[in-house]
């Protein structure tokens, strides 16, 4: 299986308020189609690691490879492009643009990428919404739908550019068990049916147990 994401000797320090070694020599690989979760106690550095992997945090030591290409030390604009094209995000909070309609929210990253025509993007977006069973919400404002629906819209948005990997920072942390289950099933289906790689940071043990692989972290190190 080809490697989607690889971290080599990642070290990170927080300099304020005192020097603190958050991540200590992190090494791991994620292959295509992996459904991986990262577990660990609060403060063990799992979210910090995720934001480094996401390319949004560039203040670290070590090397990061995406599709076997080194992306450490790329320029900010290049990293923006990589995030746009290759990485999809789902956060604990929905983070939709509340003034835009659901459909526009989903279409936005694709419009930014600008590789397809407006009609194609709209068609893709409708298709993603359909996969997630929320196509009936397309014309609604993002501020007018429920929490579970918002999270599904966020997943649709993460999928719009057919990314290499989807990253989630506690995507179910803010949802009740029904919706949480729902989101898990969506991820599972995407992983199995479309061979999508997923990397999810979570507190939820039930969620983690059902994934293919669990990375457990403690005090800035991977212990299993």
């Amino acid at each position: 299986m080809s490697t989607v994401l690889q971290a080599k000797h990642i070290n990170k320090y927080f300099k304020k308020p005192v020097l603190f070694h958050v991540l200590k020599d992190i090494n791991f690989k994620i292959s295509k189609g992996d459904f991986t979760s990262i577990m660990g106690k609060s403060g063990c550095g799992k979210s910090t690691l995720l934001y480094i992997l996401s390319t949004m945090d560039t203040d670290y030591e070590g090397e990061l490879y995406l599709n076997n290409k080194l992306i450490t030390n790329n320029s900010k604009d290049q990293l923006s492009y990589i995030r746009n094209k290759h990485i999809g995000f789902v956060f604990q909070f929905h983070y939709l643009l509340s003034e835009f309609s659901v459909l526009e929210n989903v279409m936005l990253p694709a419009k930014k990428l600008g590789e397809k025509s407006f009609q194609e993007i709209e068609h893709d977006a409708m298709q993603k919404l359909h996969i997630l069973n929320i196509d009936h919400l397309a014309k609604k404002r993002a501020s007018q739908i429920s929490g579970g629906e918002k999270q599904r819209v966020a997943i649709a948005r993460a999928l719009i550019n057919n990314p290499s990997i989807i990253m989630g920072d506690e995507p179910t942390g803010n949802l009740d068990s029904h919706n949480s289950n729902n989101v898990f099933n969506i991820f599972k289906r995407l992983s199995e049916e479309q061979g999508l790689s997923l990397l999810i940071v979570t507190h939820d043990e039930d969620f983690a147990k059902r994934t293919n692989r669990i990375i457990t972290m403690e005090d800035g190190k991977i212990i299993s």
Partner: protein, 420 residues
Amino acid sequence: MTNWSVILNIAKTHLLTKVKQTIIAALGVTFGIGAYITLVSFMTGLNSMLDDLILNQTPHIHIYNEIEPSKKQPVAMYDAFKNSVNVVHSIKPKLSQKKIHNALPIIHYLNNDEDVKGAIPQIKANIFYIAGSIEIGGNLTGINPLDEAKLFNFSDYVVKGSPEMLQKTDNGILLGAGVAKKMSLTIGDRVQISTSKGDVFPLKIVGIYQSGVADIDAIQSFANIKTVQRILGEAENYITDINVKLHNMNLALPKAKKIEQQFHLTAIDINTANAQFETGTTIRNLITYAVSITLLIVAGFGIYNILNMLIYEKMNDIAILKATGFSGKDVQYIFMSQAIIIGLIGGILGLLIGLIFTNIINTIPFKTDALPTVETYPINFDGWFYVIGITFAMVSTFLAGYLPSKKAKKIDPVKIIRGQ
């Protein structure tokens, strides 16, 4: 890489969902620009009217023979006293003729000059207006009425009758309004003129002259050159003054210097003769621009404030845009384009309001005896003011948008996302 249609679409959505704020920000610019256009058009209109009052009828170069002492006293020419200090008491002006020697060839020469729009002769004569036993001192100027009208807007100051009438009437006179009032005379009446030599001539009044300066109107009258020559008993080449109008007023000083050297005459240029008008105009312009710029800066701060608040409100949106692949520059452009759209809409509305206001002011009656030609408040409809106005609106909103958008560009998405 920058996808403008997406950026503009986001900017548009931001502006439209906050319509009230957008309108308030745009109105700030609108009032600033509107006030600038109104103020500057009105002030410069007033300025040029006041300047025209004097400058239009003033020649750019006035050439005449000055009565003055010889610059080089005879003793200086005597070699024997060359190395001594000579003191001459009670220097008297040199006796010279009032008329300009070879005036007609000089006028011909000047008229052939490329820079000269026209050079026309005048004769100045001191006379008395006789009303029964009363003699009123005055000036009679001999002119070519049609040339004067063409070059120096002379007809603006002829309130009754016309320069053409003077041209046609051999023994005609354009009487100063003040003189006419004092002597209760009007068009068609006759007035007796006495020269300093004592000869009396009757002249027919063909018009009334009013410059707006009461002191001048109380003494000044005009007649044809030939009439004045005849009254003074002088030949046809008797010319005391030459008035020159140039195409470019700024050449007046060097040209005057050159004429002085070339013909050994006194030549005064308009800037030297009317230095105070330049000063007045400059200061009035300064005040106009100071007030306008203040207005625009206030409007700029309004936009700065509103965008700043907008960016605080949109922190999460900015973070999510960056997380999904919008670069810092894209985010900056989103907010910059909002500022520029506000500036453009506000600015154009401001120009329209300025245009409407100035048109209204232009119809308000403004009658004054001092300015016979003015009927409404003067407005200067100069296109440049509109260009400057919109440019300033764009520049100030650009600056007001630049600083907040720079902040938006630097926002670290990780901090915002993890902070919740």
